[in-house]
C-alpha cells in the first residue's frame, strides 16, 4: 500500500513548527575568508581551493512542522547527513541556530549546556543510523539496548522496562523470543527494527532517519518504510529522513530539500520536486534515477 503525504504543512491547522533551522554551517578544516565564495553547487565543489577546507554544510535554513516528514536528498558528500548529525549533537556546527519547540517554547539547541543536550538527545530526539553499529550496542541484548535508553531517562524498574521493551519490539515486528539475543545474531533488517524500537522508546516528538533503508534488500526496505509511516501516523512524530533514494523520499516525505555541495538547491512539496523539478541538478538527479 502506498501512502503519500498525509499531512501537508498547507493543511492550515497543523502549522506549529517543531524545529526551525537558520544558517546552519559545518566545515572540516581551518577555513579561510574565501571558503564560502569558492565552493558550492555553482562552483561544482565543496573543497576550498585555497585552504583545503571541506564545506560540508553552508547556510542551511528550513522549518519542520509537527507530525511532518521532511526529506533531505542529495548525493554522497552533499552534507545531508551532517545536517541531522548536527541537530542530534553528533557534530558541532560552526554557525547557525536551531530552535526546537518543546511544548511550544523554543529551545535554542546549540546554546544548551552538556546536560541539557544530553537530555534532548536521550529523551526528545531519536536517531536511526544507516549503520546499526552506531545506534546499537552490540555487546548487549536487543532488550538491553532499549533498556539503556529507558534507564538514562526514568526510574529503574525492571518489570516496567521489560514490558516496554516487549511492547516496542512487538510494534517494530521483532520476534519477542529473540529479545535477549545480541543484535549481532540478527539480520540487517532486524537490526534496523531494533534501532527504531530503541529510538522510539521514549516516544520522542522528533526522529532523525539517516539512510535507514540503504543496504537492505527491497522487500525489507518496503516493510521498514511501512513501519515508519505507521509510527508517524500513530504518534504524529515529526521526522527528518535523509536519503539518496528517490523511492524513499517519494514514499515518506511530505516536503523535500535537495542538497548539493552543502547547500539547498531546491525545496518544496515532494510531488512537485519529483514531477516538476526546477533546478538543473534536481532534473539530472531525477532523470538518472527514474
Amino acid at each position: 500500500m502506498l501512502r503519500l503525504g498525509l499531512l501537508q504543512p498547507s493543511d492550515g491547522d497543523n502549522l506549529n513548527p517543531i524545529l526551525q533551522v537558520k544558517g546552519l554551517s559545518k566545515i572540516y578544516g581551518p577555513g579561510c575568508p574565501s571558503c564560502f565564495e569558492l565552493t558550492g553547487p555553482e562552483k561544482d565543489t565543496n573543497l576550498c581551493p585555497i585552504c583545503g577546507t571541506v564545506i560540508s554544510v553552508r547556510g542551511i535554513d528550513f522549518d519542520l512542522y509537527e507530525g511532518e516528514i521532511l526529506g533531505i536528498i542529495g548525493e554522497s558528500g552533499s552534507g545531508k547527513s551532517t545536517v541531522v548529525k548536527s541537530l542530534f549533537f553528533d557534530e558541532t556546527p560552526e554557525q547557525g541556530t536551531a530552535d526546537y519547540y518543546e511544548h511550544g517554547v523554543p529551545v535554542s539547541l546549540f546554546e544548551q549546556n552538556a546536560a541539557a543536550k544530553r537530555r534532548l538527545r536521550n529523551q526528545s530526539f531519536g536517531m536511526v543510523y544507516q549503520n546499526p553499529h552506531l545506534g546499537l550496542n552490540f555487546d548487549i541484548s536487543a532488550g538491553g539496548n532499549i533498556a539503556e535508553r529507558l534507564l538514562v531517562n526514568g526510574t529503574p524498574n525492571y518489570g516496567k522496562i521489560r514490558a516496554r521493551g516487549i511492547e516496542l519490539l512487538k510494534r517494530t515486528e521483532v520476534l519477542i523470543e529473540r529479545m535477549d539475543e545480541k543484535p549481532s545474531s540478527f539480520s540487517g533488517g532486524m537490526q534496523q527494527r531494533v534501532q527504531i524500537a530503541k529510538a522510539l522508546a521514549t516516544n520522542p516528538p522528533l526522529l532523525f532517519l539517516d539512510e535507514v533503508t540503504t543496504g537492505l534488500d527491497l522487500s525489507v526496505q518496503a516493510a521498514i518504510l511501512d513501519l515508519i509511516l505507521e509510527i508517524q501516523e500513530e504518534q504524529k512524530t515529526a521526522m527528518i529522513a535523509v536519503t539518496h533514494d528517490l523511492g524513499v523520499i517519494r514514499l515518506l516525505a511530505n516536503r523535500t530539500l535537495v542538497m548539493k555541495y552543502g547547500q539547498i538547491v531546491e525545496s518544496g512539496l515532494t510531488d512537485q520536486i519529483l514531477e516538476d523539478p526546477q533546478q538543473e541538478y534536481t532534473q539530472k538527479l531525477i532523470a538518472s534515477a527514474l
Partner: protein, 282 residues
C-alpha cells in the same frame, strides 16, 4: 643503617595524600587523582591503602590490618610488620575495638565501627564504569553527569540471563546520591555496612592512583531496580536453616566455605577477630 622518615614516605608526599583525602571526603565518592608513590612492595599488594594509612598514622595510633578478614594472612602480616618497622610509637592490634585505624582489603570487619575509627580499604580497580566504558575521558564525563545507565543495563542483562544480579564483589554503590563507586573487592554482604556508617571509610588505589571516600553518616546505596532490590549473599543449608560458623557457632557473620579433607563442607567466619570474640563470649 639508613634512617627513613617516620612512616617511610616523605612529608611532601604525605601532605599531598592528606589533601587528596580531604578532597575525597568533601566530594563523597569522587575519585581524586594523586601521585601514587613507589613503595617497597609490588603494586597490587595494597600500596594504595598503605600510602593512605602512612599519611594518617601518628604516634599513639593503634592499627589493625586484615586481609580476607584475617589478621594472619601473609599480606596482612607483611603490611603490619612494615608499618611497625617504619612507624615507631605506633601500636598494632588484632582486636577491632582497640584499633583506631583499620586497613583492609576484602572485608569490612563484622560489628559496627565507631566514630573514632577510620577504615582504609585497598582498591585494585577504583572505577566501576571501567567494565562498560574503556575511555577514561568518557568515564569522567559520565561520572560528572551522574550517568550510570550503562551499569544498570549490566544489571538488567544479568537479570535477563540469570534471573538475579550475579555480581559477587565490587558491587557498584551510589554515594550521597551522585557518584557511583567500586567499593573495593568487599563482598556484597559488606556493602550495607558503608551506608550511614559511623566511621570514615577511605579507599586507596595505588596502581590506578586514585583516592575516594565515604564520609561518616553518608548514604551508600547499591545500584538496583525498584522491583528487584539489592540482596546480600545468603548462607542457607539444605533444610533452609541459616548456616553457622563451625568454630564459634555464629549465624550472623559472613562465612567462608572450605573442605575439611574428609569430604565435608565446613563454614567458618571470614572475620577471624569476630570469630575469636564470639568464642570468648560463649
Amino acid at each position: 643503617m639508613i634512617h627513613n622518615t617516620f612512616g617511610f614516605i616523605d612529608i611532601q608526599a604525605k601532605r599531598e595524600i592528606r589533601r587528596s583525602v580531604l578532597k575525597a571526603i568533601a566530594i563523597p565518592g569522587y575519585q581524586v587523582p594523586y601521585s601514587s608513590r613507589e613503595m617497597p612492595m609490588g603494586r597490587g599488594f595494597g600500596t594504595g591503602g598503605l600510602q593512605v594509612t602512612l599519611s594518617l598514622i601518628g604516634e599513639g595510633d593503634c592499627l589493625k590490618v586484615i586481609d580476607q578478614g584475617s589478621d594472619d594472612s601473609v599480606n596482612a602480616v607483611n603490611l603490619r610488620s612494615f608499618i611497625e618497622k617504619t612507624c615507631p610509637g605506633v601500636d598494632t592490634t588484632e582486636l577491632l575495638e582497640e584499633a583506631n585505624l583499620i586497613q583492609s582489603r576484602h572485608r569490612i570487619p563484622e560489628g559496627a565501627l565507631t566514630e573514632d575509627q577510620i577504615l582504609i580499604l585497598q582498591v585494585p580497580y577504583p572505577d566501576p564504569l571501567v567494565i562498560v566504558e574503556p575511555s577514561e575521558e568518557k568515564r569522567k564525563i559520565m561520572h560528572g553527569e551522574g550517568d550510570y545507565s550503562r551499569l544498570l543495563v549490566k544489571l538488567y542483562e544479568d537479570l535477563v540471563e540469570h534471573g538475579e544480579i550475579t555480581i559477587s564483589h565490587r558491587y557498584p554503590t551510589r554515594i550521597n546520591g551522585h557518584y557511583v563507586i567500586d567499593p573495593s573487592p568487599i563482598p556484597r554482604y559488606d556493602v550495607p555496612f558503608l551506608d550511614q556508617s559511623k566511621s570514615l571509610t577511605l579507599f586507596g588505589a595505588g596502581r590506578e592512583k586514585k583516592i575516594y571516600a565515604v564520609p561518616p553518616y553518608c548514604d551508600a546505596e547499591p545500584l538496583a531496580f525498584e522491583d528487584q532490590p539489592f540482596r546480600t549473599e545468603e548462607f542457607f543449608g539444605p533444610q533452609g536453616q541459616r548456616l553457622g560458623c563451625h568454630r564459634c557457632g555464629s549465624t550472623e557473620s559472613y562465612l567462608d566455605e572450605f573442605d575439611d579433607q574428609l569430604g565435608n563442607n565446613l563454614y567458618q567466619c571470614s572475620d577471624s577477630d569476630y570469630c575469636n570474640r564470639q568464642m570468648e563470649t560463649t
